[in-house]
Point group: C3
Chain length 394, copies 3
């Protein structure tokens, strides 16, 4: 069917599901000279995600998911976990999966309104190896998750193997208080997530993320190679969404605080990011955190045209100003190479041909503060990108 | 069934197919001292291709294919594409797939008559990221494809990510004018393909292929490391096949023209290759571009023995003589290391046990002009290889 | 069902099976200062094995298996083979699979009693590319296998591509003389395996394994980088198991003999290893080489609790003392870095919740002789590890 294929046992309690996600993108940059030949950032066709998933249940107790990533430039490991489902309120998951922190980071890739996630996702940890207890309470109006993980840096999946003996704890609660009461607030969700842990190690290792990327996936900030993680690393992430009929809004805020060291320069820095995004389905289908399902799928000959959606958002990521101060040593980042703030504005038009096929077009403009030499104008050049995507998901 | 396994929705318009290709080879070399310990090219068992494929259709509009490669020395990405099927005459494909150029390169791997493709495949681009319009016209007697791709070098799949802002256009038309008229010419096909694009970059990058390989997969030509792609790169590839009853013939010709630069030495070179191959099915089954299907599959006890086929071919690849001339700078390739011509003769015996299982034995002799020092006799030693394969495909 | 999912053709002779193995481990070390920050070996969560398998039969003649490995730090290639099944007594397998040598190495990963295999597995070759004849004779009381392989080093899967022209021959016979006679000796098995071949090449190459690892996967022995394989490499491996009702015992012995060379120091060394392991199923289920299947699976609410098993074992690996002697040159290994003997003691507790889900807890202590400087006490520090595993297999 339109939500994947499955093989079931006669009694139905053993089930193997095959799902897939395929995203082929084209990126075009304009008005910069930040790239190589012939001068601007690198236009290209790319396979953004090719993720065949095998998931299933082995009786009522056991669930699992295996999702390798074949897109990008080399195969990679995404969600590989098993789960013991003792109760809807108490499931134990082990393996590799997303830490329960960032709201848009936890939204599934095929359901994203924009082609790329906004800047706050750069500040939260993503997939990591660990063990997690999670469930739903109070007639499913409250979700919770708490886990212990190897501990990774901000932005992206944690590398393996883990190279220190430190672990992180992450927890998240998310309430949809009116979930069971039809009305304007039925699809309102509010939550908060936090992590705490210690990390030690040099830049470019699992302990400290060397770079943050713009929405169009170009690095605009990197620590100096001599900067080290040097102690406590915490995150705090309040978050909310509200969907009503054919429109919705999603907002989140993230603080990532980490103790760093470069020579004699030791201090704690707090990086911050936020986003506000709104979407509107022109053809009237329900907007939701799980994506849009067209009422009348596109058919050759014109009986149906699918669903159309428009969206707009803004997000920003601000590096702590202490990042660039050389107190008794060397600064953690070079202000002529690493920007101290990125501010993004994006608009999107989505065409859902069928439940499985989507064509998306985004325009993304990002303004930077800092990140260039005085000769270059002190600010990194604005980035303007047109990104197109064909997405198939089943 | 013998053509793969599938899961279908009740209405049949959603289908997930599982197919697989498995090729285990043994290669033995004889009469050379080109290799390491103990002196000749490296005999070995190898997994040439291990390619499980997931393909399917999501309603009438959407098709897709995902084929990773697990053979070779590391997992790799082969055909990863999605397709919108507006009409048999107009399909839009996006993702990673073969550029529509070389005839034998476009023949599917399990259907090849010989274990390895002939020398012209070294001169054509293969898989690349892009978008393509393709279809069949005039009662399926004319196939066409035209696409825009990141742009890769000759011989083999394009590396990712693409590192320049240049793209290639590739187009191919192939006619089978008598396809719907039973008779001696029914399976005659004639076509031509061409590409054009610009490439800049050093040897060993995506812009310029550093080496061409013999049929037995040993490199006989490489550019100097200082040679750069320096502008336009085009291909022209006329091609044809003719199958009638239990015999067939396949022929193709390729010109690959590319602007190169090494220091002050700038010029355009044209490399050329051709092949002519003929096959004959001893047991009388139809020969075809899609392989041979045995009438009476091999059974323990002797009711059936499968199908037997023999084949012979010759191919050659000639490097432009300008490749070796140092006009005002350094030559593009070192004539004492890189051969200027390879000429291949091959014979094959194939045993199709069942539709799914094939055992193949090839003898391949390749003669080289150039590619050695005067002391070594100026010509690279002949390569003589016996290659055996067990192939399972479903 | 509990043994995987399958798609069959109507007649049943074409079958595609999907199976999976998922092992998420946690490792904790104690009482050493062999590791990095903060001083002891590296605690971590890890995905030990993520192995989705596609296997099947294409008619009665053809079988195949494809098992990639997604656990660990990068995707890898495990069992990729095809097979022609002429007769239960005569099957020809080609591709990549385990050499028929070590007993515990040949036990399937999900059926292991302990989380990690014991030390003898370090001395036997594992997966390699090759061709093998195997089958069962005398009413299945005798299994045999003989194969020709590229030839790899001890301990772990052979790297590809093979870099010498030498091949190895491996053979194994294993008898279960009373297999068809119910009684106390029905599940007694006794066998022997041997290999012979030549290997030339430097340490860290396919020819010579650079390191042997403790049960908790830390390297305790490595050859010097200048040590070369220099000729014949043989293995001899007597082996046996005996299972009766709810208990069992497994024992094996391995001699790995290899000619080495470091400068003028040329000699043959013989490394030896053994293990004895015993297991006891507290809940009364049958113990077997293929694992334990709980009679009353765990159910929420308490109707069943699954099966419980305890086990103990000891194993040791002794390096030839000639390894550390510098006869006319340099010794093959540095005695202050490479231990000359490892002795392991392990205990295990296993909880089989269902046929598919298992939770295991092991304590492993390993004592080393040598492998440290006089200042460090000449012996490498003892290794004490607690290893926990959640395993899902279908």
């Amino acid at each position: 069917g339109d939500k994947g294929f499955s093989i079931k046992s006669a009694k139905g309690d053993y089930e193997l599901q095959f799902r897939g996600l395929f995203q082929a993108d084209a990126r075009f940059f304009n008005g910069d000279n930040l790239g190589g030949n012939p001068g601007r950032l690198n236009d290209q066709f790319l396979l953004r995600r090719v993720e065949p998933t095998i998931s299933g249940s082995l009786g009522k107790l056991v669930g699992f998911q295996i999702t390798p990533q074949f897109g990008g430039d080399a195969p990679a490991l995404l969600d590989f976990w098993g789960e013991l489902r003792f109760d809807p309120a108490a499931n134990v998951r082990v393996g590799r999966f997303k830490q329960p922190v960032g709201l848009e980071n936890l939204q599934s890739s095929p359901a994203l309104t924009f082609i790329e996630r906004a800047l706050p996702t750069s500040l939260v940890p993503s997939r990591d190896n660990g063990i997690q207890l999670h469930g739903q309470l109070f007639s499913q109006t409250l979700s919770y998750a708490i886990g212990v993980f190897n501990g990774g840096a901000d932005a992206g999946d944690a590398a393996t193997p883990d190279t220190d003996n430190r672990h992180d704890i992450a927890a998240r609660v998310f309430a949809e208080p009116f979930k069971n009461s039809p009305g304007i607030l039925q699809n309102l969700g509010v939550g908060i997530a936090a992590t705490t842990g210690n990390a030690y190690g040099a830049a470019n290792t699992v302990a400290i993320k060397s770079n943050y990327k713009s929405v169009a996936q170009n690095s605009f900030f990197a620590y100096r190679g001599t900067t080290n993680a040097n102690g406590k690393h915490t995150h705090l992430a309040p978050q909310a969404y509200w969907y009503n009929n054919n429109y919705g809004i999603l907002a989140e805020y993230v603080i990532s605080r980490q103790e760093l060291k470069n020579g004699l320069n030791e201090r704690s820095v707090s990086h911050k990011a936020y986003q506000v995004a709104a979407n509107y389905v022109l053809t009237g289908e329900d907007a939701s955190f799980k994506g849009v399902k067209p009422k009348s799928p596109f058919k050759i000959g014109g009986d149906g045209w699918g669903a159309f959606e428009i969206a707009a958002r803004t997000s920003a990521l601000t590096l702590d100003s202490d990042t660039f101060i050389a107190g008794g040593g060397t600064s953690f980042a070079d202000p002529t190479l690493a920007a101290r703030k990125a501010t993004e504005y994006g608009v999107a038009a989505n065409w859902y041909l069928t439940t499985n096929a989507k064509i998306a077009l985004n325009y993304e403009a990002t303004r930077f503060d800092g990140g260039a030499t005085a000769l270059q104008g002190t600010d990194r050049q604005n980035e303007r990108a047109i990104i197109a995507r064909v997405q198939l998901a089943y």
